[in-house]
């Protein structure tokens, strides 16, 4: 399965992104890693060019909120991304925040899976489960 990943906005925290690339590859995904400093439009454009099924965004430095609000508006301009599974993880707010509120908010922004300060492997297990469910439903 093809997955596009990267770190959104002007965020340069690269460590999790490298680990993400390795873990995804180890789990058998075909990974398109856009790296740090990636804008929302580039994520969507990469999904179009690759035909990816999954978009997995990291945000570590606290920018996620601002970008989250843009997601629906921008995604609506694309005619071939309706089937795209969208996931976001990392530090999704400034400071600690209440995880439940954050998850609800980001789901409203259009993400199918939201992992605020969730360990990478736990998150990728969630993804696998979710994809399985999608297949059966």
């Amino acid at each position: 399965m093809k997955v596009v990943t990267g770190v959104i906005g002007n965020d340069i925290h690269v460590v999790a992104n490298r680990l993400m690339d390795l873990s995804l590859t180890a789990r058998g995904y075909e990974v398109f890693n856009l790296g740090v400093n990636t804008y929302l439009e580039e994520f969507f454009d990469a999904a179009v060019e690759t035909g990816a099924e999954i978009l997995l965004i990291s945000s570590l430095n606290g920018e996620a909120e601002g970008w989250g609000r843009e997601v629906k508006l921008l995604k609506a301009k694309y005619k071939s991304l309706d089937g795209l599974t969208m996931m976001i993880g990392g530090n999704l707010t400034v400071g600690s925040g209440n995880a439940e509120d954050i998850v609800t908010r980001f789901k409203n922004y259009g993400f199918d899976l939201v992992c605020h300060q969730v360990d990478l492997n736990t998150g990728l297990d969630m993804l696998e489960e979710y994809m399985q469910e999608q297949k059966h439903s």
Partner: protein
């Protein structure tokens, strides 16, 4: 060993032509009632005839280059990569179309020299459909090349006649692959130059291939430090009569395009001070700061209607300002340059005969203050003797 002492270098532009020998450079306004060869021989016949054809090297940008229309999937990848390759091959981009919205675009009436179709990595496919063919059916073009994903190539070839299929310009890691499309476009441009009746005439005086000027200038950029004190990163502006060419160091773009060469090129087609004068004025009238610039230069908009030396000078200053705007965040074109990181700004072409360093620095400083809120001051370098062009042409002549 000095190779060019016995060589004559000729550059044919849309407005001027210049003739360079080991000890002098002459520049002449073109007479549009004459064919290029007649004009050249009329004004510089003695010089030209004193050289053997194999020692005469000619380059031309007179026909303004070839035009392309690009159809791709996304702005960040297919369209951006194809645009980059087109510009670097000396081709002008007329329009770029995002395929999913193709039905909403108007059809340009001008003849397009080459249509580029691109999109998807090779493991993707089925990204184009019959809307492509129906668009192409209405379009007036001479060549069409496909550089998208492998899977769709044969399907498109069934419906698009004379489709040239080349390897994908996007690799499996979403990186750019330039070679094949670049060679194809460079050759096309080359054939076009040679096919122009006016240019063909010139083979009476040269035994060498006639090249496009951007090709020659590009050759000289890596050597620029040998003639000028230019600090990287820099941009080189060639504001001509019809178009403006900008060559810039790769370091000035933060981008997903990783290519081998250190410099890229972009062309602003309708920005020039003679043939494109009207569209330059139009652009100025639509720029809210241009009026302030005129005030700063102590003239009014009436200057647009004047045809004087002073008017030409002001228009050139305006052109510098507008090009910088187009390359900055203020008016994003297809690339945005990190202009605050730029250390040198080099000017070549006719502009260096009209403006002095002070005139230029005045506008550049105005731009940085107004648009970027900064006192940054890149070093201005004037190539008033066409050294850059000579450098490229010499380098090229030496290779032949």
């Amino acid at each position: 060993m000095s190779t060019n002492n016995n060589k004559l270098l000729v550059d044919i532009g849309s407005t001027y032509f210049k003739v360079s020998t080991a000890d002098s450079i002459e520049q002449h306004f073109r007479d549009f009632n004459k064919r290029i060869l007649d004009d050249l021989m009329h004004k510089c016949g003695d010089i030209v005839q004193s050289y053997e054809p194999e020692n005469v090297h000619i380059c031309s940008s007179a026909n303004g280059g070839l035009s392309t229309l690009i159809i791709g999937l996304t702005h960040s990848y297919s369209l951006k990569y194809a645009t980059n390759i087109a510009y670097n091959s000396g081709i002008n981009v007329i329009d770029s179309i995002v395929f999913q919205d193709i039905e909403e675009y108007s059809i340009p009436s001008d003849l397009i020299d080459v249509v580029i179709i691109v999109g998807g990595i090779d493991s993707n496919g089925g990204v184009f459909d019959e809307r492509l063919t129906s668009y192409l059916d209405k379009l007036n073009y001479s060549n069409v090349v496909y550089v998208g994903n492998k899977n769709d190539a044969q399907e498109i070839a069934k419906t698009v006649e004379r489709l040239e299929i080349l390897p994908n310009i996007i690799d499996d890691r979403l990186h750019i692959v330039e070679t094949h499309l670049k060679d194809y476009l460079t050759n096309l441009y080359q054939q076009d130059i040679e096919g122009k009746e006016d240019i063909k005439d010139l083979y009476e005086v040269t035994g060498n291939q006639i090249y496009s000027t951007p090709f020659v200038v590009n050759k000289s950029l890596p050597l620029i430090h040998t003639s000028f004190s230019v600090t990287d990163p820099f941009i080189l502006l060639d504001i001509g009569g019809a178009t403006t060419d900008v060559h810039y160091s790769k370091d000035l773009v933060s981008d997903n395009i990783v290519t081998e060469q250190g410099h890229d090129r972009i062309v602003f087609k309708k920005l020039g001070v003679y043939k494109s004068r009207q569209s330059l004025i139009f652009t100025a009238e639509n720029n809210e700061y241009a009026y302030e610039l005129l005030m700063h230069l102590k003239v009014t908009e009436n200057i647009y209607n004047e045809h004087s030396e002073k008017a030409t000078k002001i228009l050139m200053q305006l052109a510098i300002f507008l090009v910088l705007c187009k390359m900055s965040h203020y008016r994003p074109a297809y690339v945005t340059l990190k202009l605050l990181a730029m250390n040198s700004i080099v000017f070549t072409g006719g502009i260096t005969k009209v403006l002095n360093t002070e005139d230029i620095e005045d506008v550049v400083a105005f731009f940085y203050r107004k648009i970027l809120n900064s006192d940054h001051k890149p070093v201005t370098v004037l190539d008033s003797d066409y050294d850059i062009w000579t450098l490229g042409a010499t380098e090229h002549a030496a290779c032949q």
